[in-house]
Amino acid sequence: MNGSSIYHALDATKCIGCTHCMKSCPTEAIRVVNGLAVIDHDRCVYCGQCHRACPTHAFYVVQDDLAMIRSFKYRVILFPSIMIGQFPEKYSEDQIYDGLKKVGFTHVYEVEQPMQVLIDSINEVLANKETPKPAISIYCPAIVRLIQGRYPSLTENLILRKAPHNLAAHFAIEQLMLEGARREEIGLFYATPCIAKIAAVKSPVGESESIVDGIVNMNQLYNEVMKVISEGQAEDHSVQRQNLSAEGITWSLTRGESCHFGSRGIAIDGIHNAVRFLERLENDQVKGIDFIEMRACDQSCAGGILLTGNRFMTVERLERRAKRYPAAKDISPETIRAKTKELKLKLILDSIVPKPHFAFGKDRVKAMEKMSKAQRIVCFLPGIDCGACGAPNCQALAEDMVNNKAKMSDCTFLQQMWVDEGRINAKKAFLNTQKKWGTDRFKADCNKRGRRNEGF
């Protein structure tokens, strides 16, 4: 699956050019230009912070058309267990499975199965003395991209084993082919909880191409299922869950991985927590830890931006659900045992390369000149990181200036000073600010969007 590699964008009719998204971005990938937020897609790691921060829901996520599933004879929906967790308690697993079939899928697979294959595979990596420690899970694709871009020296610590959706995809193909299906008749669709997973499925890192044929956004799928779900007796679909384990169900939650691996494993959720920790890790200030689970969202995937249910309730439902399921090591049907070796081979990722995106260009002498210049500019900026220039902080504005992406007059403080010194007139200064933020910013409006605590 190729084509565009942009998976989220801004609706210009909804964006009001406030600074919330710009301020929350962990890679400083957003600027406000002419009253609208603009994403630098080279820097974006698809963590979804901007979606969460936006008071007008101006960000949208691309998605494939659900109708496309009809072109396959076998239509498989692969979804992480958290999908189940977000439904109201009154709906049973079978009612939800029924709903997914009514939406148009012929086969329903939760992706975290058969989990023991992946657990064993990761343990093999950890047991290898040559694996740099602490080894970092690649489970969260936003974290992988963050490390490639901002912490390139840590890419060698990433565990080169694929995520559960690949595991289940291979497993589903195996099983359907046993039933007599031909590979080209099988369409695999992944229900995604976030943009990062869309990017991971559509332009994977460390894989030449993705195994999945299309993606369905989990919020859309949730709404589709809610339209058709029945309150009555549902068919028994437990055969589709016979390889689902307690470990699988909790895998996508915080500590879902770290509790299985390493003699000292830790779990970190929330992209800004991850940034702070990676900073320490890169300085070699973290000693003795051998496994790190790291997820961009608070409460891990339960906090994914495409989920409908409350994340804390989702976690609670899944934790209770997991208690009813067997341990991964106790599930080993013949079909898996025979295929384990093959499945394991398919889970190995190619190398993941660093993609540093913070350098000032390739020429070091020029980069030094630019940096020195940026440092001199910073001396004149107010240092309060107000964002009124359209950059997230004073340092970022200075860097934008030396890269010819911003002007001195973008800083309202500098401009004020110039007016005071008589270097520009007040009218010109006002027009500059108006150009940056639009005329509407200056109109009285009691319902003005974007003010603090909006959405409370």
């Binding site: 200030q285 030094m368 940096m371």
Partner: protein, 144 residues
């Protein structure tokens, strides 16, 4: 941080003895600059590890110190100088596992006696001068 001429970048930081909470600030700042210069990530790692160890040495043993960093086209020179007890026997201090750190410092997870050996391992050139009861100067050079 004080920037200077075009061909060279200079940065200076102060370190307070005993302040473990803020140890690591200079190394993080230097790291940021080196990343923006597009320096190879392995080289950055070496530099940052060495600088952090040197910082912790000042925090753990000395009263106060400064870090002066000079970056030019092909190398970084870091001078960490402190006012403190000094090192009576530098050769002994260079041995892995040798430590004079107090019990309090060790309880905080520092002072394992790996500081100077670790600096040596991660730098291309290392020069240590010390005067007992006056202070220590550690000069580290790494080539890009």
């Amino acid at each position: 941080m004080q920037p200077e001429t075009k061909k060279k970048m200079k940065l200076t930081f102060n370190i307070k003895g005993g302040d473990f909470t803020h140890a690591g600030h200079p190394s993080s700042e230097v790291k940021k600059v080196l990343k923006q210069l597009g320096i190879d990530s392995k080289t950055i790692k070496n530099i940052v590890i060495a600088l952090y160890e040197a910082e912790v040495n000042v925090v753990a043993h000395a009263w106060k110190g400064t870090v002066s960093v000079e970056i030019d086209e092909n190398k970084i020179t870091i001078l960490v100088s402190d006012e403190g007890p000094g090192i009576p026997d530098i050769d002994l201090a260079m041995q892995a596992g040798y430590s004079t750190a107090s019990k309090k410092v060790r309880e905080m997870g520092f002072g394992a006696g790996m500081g100077l050996p670790n600096i040596k391992k991660n730098t291309d050139e290392l020069l240590i001068e010390s005067e007992v009861n006056k202070g220590t100067k550690v000069k580290m050079v790494n080539y890009f």
